[in-house]
Amino acid sequence: MATPLVLFGIAALVGGLAGYPLSRARWTRQAPRLAVALWHALCLGVVSSVVLGGVALALPALPSVVTGGLSDFLARCAMALRAELAAPRSLLLGAAGLWLALITIGRVVVMGASSSRKARRVRRGQLERLAVAGRRLRGDHGEALVLLMDDRPAAYCLPGSRGRGTIVISSGSLDLLADDQLRLVLAHERAHLRQRHHVAARLSAALSGAFGWVPLFRFAARDVPVLLEMAADDQAMRTTEVGSGRGIRSSARRRLAHALLTLATAQPASPAGALAAAGGSAVARVRRLSEPPLPLGPTRVSLLGVGILVAFAGPLLVASAPALCAAAMEICPFAFS
C-alpha cells in the first residue's frame, strides 16, 4: 500500500509547491534551456507519479487470470511482488486506480492532440495564402523564408515537422530594422524552428489546459514560453556572424534589444487580451539583454542536471522499487541472468 501513497504524495507536493520557488528563481534566465528542461521534468514527473500510483493501486487487484497463466517461477515472483505491494485486494480501489491512470493520460493526450490539430489548421491556412500572396526569398540556411508586402511590422515562424518550417517577415519589419538586426531576428526564428520550441510550448500548454488547477502546470505554462524566447535570443546571438570577441558579443545583445523594442512598439494596437498575455516576455527579454551575460557555473549546471534526472525518473524508481526488491530476491530467475 505504501507505493501508491508515496507516489500520490510526490505528485501533491511537487504539483502543489514546486512551481512557486522555480517561477521566482533568478538563475532561470541565465540558463533558459535548462530551466525549460526542469519545468518539463517536474511536470512530467507529476503526471507519471499519478499514473504510476494509479497502476500500483490497480496491480494487486488484477484478477488472478493475469498471473495464473504464468510459469511457476514467474508466479512465485509475482507473489513476492504482491507481498511487497501488500495492498488490500479491493476491487474498488483497483478500479479507481486504473481509472485515475487512464483519465490522466487521456486528458493530456486529448488536449495535446486538439491543440496540435488546431495549430496544423492555422499553419495550413497561412501557408496556402502565403504561397500566392507572399514572395519566397532564398533563406541562407535552407528554411523557407517568405516576405509579405505589408507596412505593419511582423516577424514570426510557422513550425513544421522535422525541425523545418517557414519564417515570415513583413516589408514593414524590413523598413524598421538594420541589416545586422534583421539577421538576428531571422536567427531567433530559426532557433525556434531548429530547437522545436513549439513542442515544448505545446506540452506545457496541454498540461495546464488539462489540469489548470495544478499550480505547477499553471506556472509552467506561463514561464516556459518566456524562457523559450530567451533561449532563441541566446541562440541568435551565438549563431549570427558579428565577428568575434567580447565587445562584439555585447554589441549583439544591444542590437537585439533595440530590434525587440523597435518591433514591439511599432506594432499597431491589437486586442487587450493579446497584449496582456504576452507583454511580460518582451520586458523580461530586453531587461535580460541589457545586462552582461552570466552563464551558470559548472557546479550549478551539474546540480541542475541531477535535479532534472531525479524529477523525471524519481517516480518511476519509486514505482518499481517493490519490483526491484523482488527481483533482488533469489527466487526470481531473471534477476541477474
Binding site: 500566392v132 520550441h197 505554462a221 525587440l260 523594442l261 514591439a264 496582456a276 498575455a277 504576452a278 518582451a282
Partner: protein
C-alpha cells in the same frame, strides 16, 4: 513511402506552389476572367508547360476558394476572388491576433509593449550605454 519519394513529392509540391503564385499573378494583372489556355499562354516559358498541369493548379486554387470560375462556352474562365493585398491582410491579421497563442501555432519574434514599458526599457538601455 521511400525517402526519395518523400523528397520528390516535396519538390513537386513546391513546384506546384510556385506555379500557383505565377497563375495568381496572371489573374490579378488581367482585366477580365481568363481561361486555362489564356493563363498558360501568358505564363513565362509557356511552351514547356503542360496544359493539364496548369488546369490542375487552377482547379486547386478554385478548391481553396482563391479564384471564382464560370463557364464560358466549353471551358471555365477564372478570376481571383480576393486581391493580393486582401490575402496579405488576412495572413497578417491572423498572425497579429495570435500574439499570446499558447498552442504555438506560430511563434512571433516579439509581442507588443505598452508605450510606458517601452519608454522605461529604452531608458534602461541608454543608461547602460558604454
Amino acid at each position: 513511402m521511400m525517402p526519395w519519394g518523400e523528397k520528390w513529392r516535396e519538390k513537386w509540391m513546391r513546384k506546384l506552389g510556385d506555379l500557383e503564385a505565377l497563375v495568381m499573378e496572371q489573374l490579378w494583372s488581367a482585366s477580365e476572367p481568363l481561361s486555362v489556355r489564356q493563363v498558360l499562354e501568358a505564363l513565362p516559358d509557356s511552351r514547356n508547360r503542360a496544359y493539364t498541369t496548369v488546369m490542375t493548379v487552377m482547379d486547386n486554387l478554385f478548391q481553396k476558394g482563391f479564384v471564382a470560375r464560370e463557364r464560358s462556352g466549353r471551358a471555365y474562365v477564372y478570376r481571383p476572388s480576393q486581391s493580393r493585398a486582401e490575402h496579405t491582410a488576412e495572413v497578417m491579421e491572423e498572425a497579429l491576433s495570435r500574439g499570446g497563442d499558447r498552442g504555438a501555432a506560430l511563434m512571433h519574434f516579439v509581442d507588443q509593449l505598452t508605450p510606458d514599458e517601452a519608454a522605461a526599457l529604452r531608458a534602461l538601455l541608454d543608461q547602460r550605454e558604454p
